[in-house]
Amino acid sequence: MSEHILQFKPSEGFRARSKAVVDNPFLRQSFRGAMDFLMSKRAAQFPDSEELESLRTLGESIRQYNLAKLPTLLEQLEANLTRNGIQVHWAETPDEANAIILGICQARSAKLMVKGKSMVSEEIELNHAAEAAGIGALESDMGEYIVQLAGEKPSHIIMPAIHKTKEEIARLFADKVEGVDYTDNVDALIQIGRNVLRQKFLEADIGLSGVNFAVAETGTLCLVENEGNGRMCTTAPPVHIAITGIEKIVEKLEHVPPLLSLLTRSATGQNISTYFNMISSPRKPGEKDGPSEVHLVLLDNGRSQAYADEQLRKTLQCIRCGACMNHCPVYTRIGGHAYGTTYPGPIGKIISPHMLGLEATSTMATASSLCGACGEVCPVKIPIPELLMRLREEAFTAPHANPSMVGQGAGYSWLMTSVWKGWAAVYRSPSLYGVATWLGSRFSWLMPSKQGAWTSVRVPLKPAPRRLRDMLKERGE
């Protein structure tokens, strides 16, 4: 089904993709409208700033406590899940994760997998791996279903089809869903999706889902959703495979309520999602439904690199609410696809370098105004601007031994570093500064009128014909 039109290649064409969106008033308007909507919904959920701050502090401390014990908790989770009858698998790379999932499918001769919303499955490009292995992988979250039909990727981690208007979706359904006529009535469109997907839930051999929180002490997988597709995928097919990053773990069940409250309120401005699903075992003897096999795939994919550094570890506190992108002035203008990464926006900029290396992502850290909005709204207080500064340093300073990140120094340029060094030297020495400004004022006519990106929207930079110090001297001051 998917034509694989939009492959993730963050390093290539970031500027061009951004420009395409900025130049499209229609897309800009739809992102602006959607982000304004999400921001006001979130604000309405947190009328009491003291409550918000204390809950954020609690959320941060819960995430930091659990990350500090991560390897121990993973072992505890594995032991309790296994005791409950859930099979645990570990994958270091996307390829390993795909091989595990496809292995489970093949052992059951599965033909069709229905998927609940899972960004980690996007991260490993599971749909393409499944198709290559002859297994249909169908997205069942409405937004994901829409982008899959369109042969695209999600443009937002919570609202995958946020870039599409209802008219576009109406045309898409009329073109691609059999027996459907054009309608842009939203209820009717949802009904069309519902009817197609209900049949698939009934037929599917495998249901795949993500995990929002994995509880170590009880061996429980928690899922947050509104549609019921997550419940369908984890209940109707005979096998359920869950996939999660290794960081989504809490030790205690009591850690879940504060995080759930922060997640749903920050993400979509709901005080709770319609469904909160806690799965602790496969079908037990005597039970009449639910999958007979449940698997969990724990994926590293660069997370252990982030974990190794005290500052970068904070990246893993993320609960994937999407609030940072909703509030980001850059995301709002360029949309999610421009980034070319699974996770767009501020969280994407800080997590993707660990997954893809700095070679592929060094420009991303620079695509920020450092306005601080992302850090201010993050429900678990990830200091995103501070991490962006750190990533810029990792990407653009000269390569050295024992780097903290794969691709350290990937954006390093001898010329750029020398220019900045020269600049610093001039500004540190009064005499050099004097000479430089004297030369600048005498030869200002030499400045070119086209100065790259600067002059695309601004007048050319040109030193003043006379220096301030000369003018002051004249006035005798």
């Binding site: 390897p71 072992e75 570990w90 209802k166 839930f201 009880t218 850690h255 319609t274 590293d300």
Partner: protein, 222 residues
């Protein structure tokens, strides 16, 4: 070396030597959440779940069956999925056939009647274990009598709730009931009918699960 050993090895090698103190979740809830009377909790629960598009009827243990019949008639539903081995299921089974309601029971594993469940089951009745006032949430623990798909597949889901079992918060529910000591196969929080806003942020109900959620809240006999 397996992927498991490599991942755990990397994490252990860089794990902080000391963990921060266990966060005081109980302390936070004690200072930040109201504790209400039963009547207030029922009111708040109702207001919240109605805001999420659920239909709530206050009933008594004497009249809930009549109300249920009225709800089915109003929705022109003549078939209801109920659980045999439960008191409320038996009550319905004993009473409704004479009113022309076809009562279906979930007495076989789903494999034996999956298409029928998906295609010919307009409504179901299940019981809630408890509820949460703060968010307007029903707590369901599906079991062998009332399996998981009962609350998911039929387009109309009707839930019986004892108004005396409403907690202030999710945290209070799990603490009071000692959930950390063991959870069932699948436990659920449900806060309204299935919905989505994936098409141009326009809210639509009945995305995959029930289009309608009806709560019969059994309270005092007045």
């Amino acid at each position: 070396m397996s992927a498991r050993d490599r991942i755990l090895g990397k994490l252990k090698a860089t794990m902080p030597a000391t963990a921060p103190a266990l966060p005081d979740v109980g302390g936070w809830f004690a200072t930040h959440r109201v504790v209400e009377s039963s009547a207030d909790k029922a009111k708040r629960f109702r207001a919240c779940i109605e805001l999420a598009h659920a239909e709530v009827h206050a009933v008594t243990s004497a009249n809930w069956l009549a109300k249920l019949l009225e709800v089915l008639r109003a929705k022109q539903i003549d078939k209801l999925l109920v659980a045999e081995e439960t008191a409320h299921g038996e009550a319905v089974l004993n009473d409704f056939p004479r009113h022309g309601i076809d009562c279906q029971t979930y007495d076989l594993p789903i494999e034996a009647w999956k298409s029928e469940m998906f295609q010919q089951t307009p409504a179901s009745l299940t019981v809630a274990r408890a509820a949460i006032a703060e968010t307007g949430t029903l707590i369901l623990w599906p079991n062998a009598d009332e399996p998981r798909l009962m609350s998911l597949v039929p387009p109309v889901h009707i839930v019986l709730l004892d108004a005396g079992k409403i907690y202030n918060t999710f945290f209070e529910a799990m603490q009071t009931e000692g959930w950390a000591n063991g959870l069932p196969t699948n436990s659920l929080l449900i806060s309204g009918p299935s919905k989505t806003a994936d098409i141009q942020q326009t809210l639509a109900y009945g995305a995959h699960g029930p289009k309608e959620l009806v709560v019969l809240m059994i309270g005092d006999e007045q």
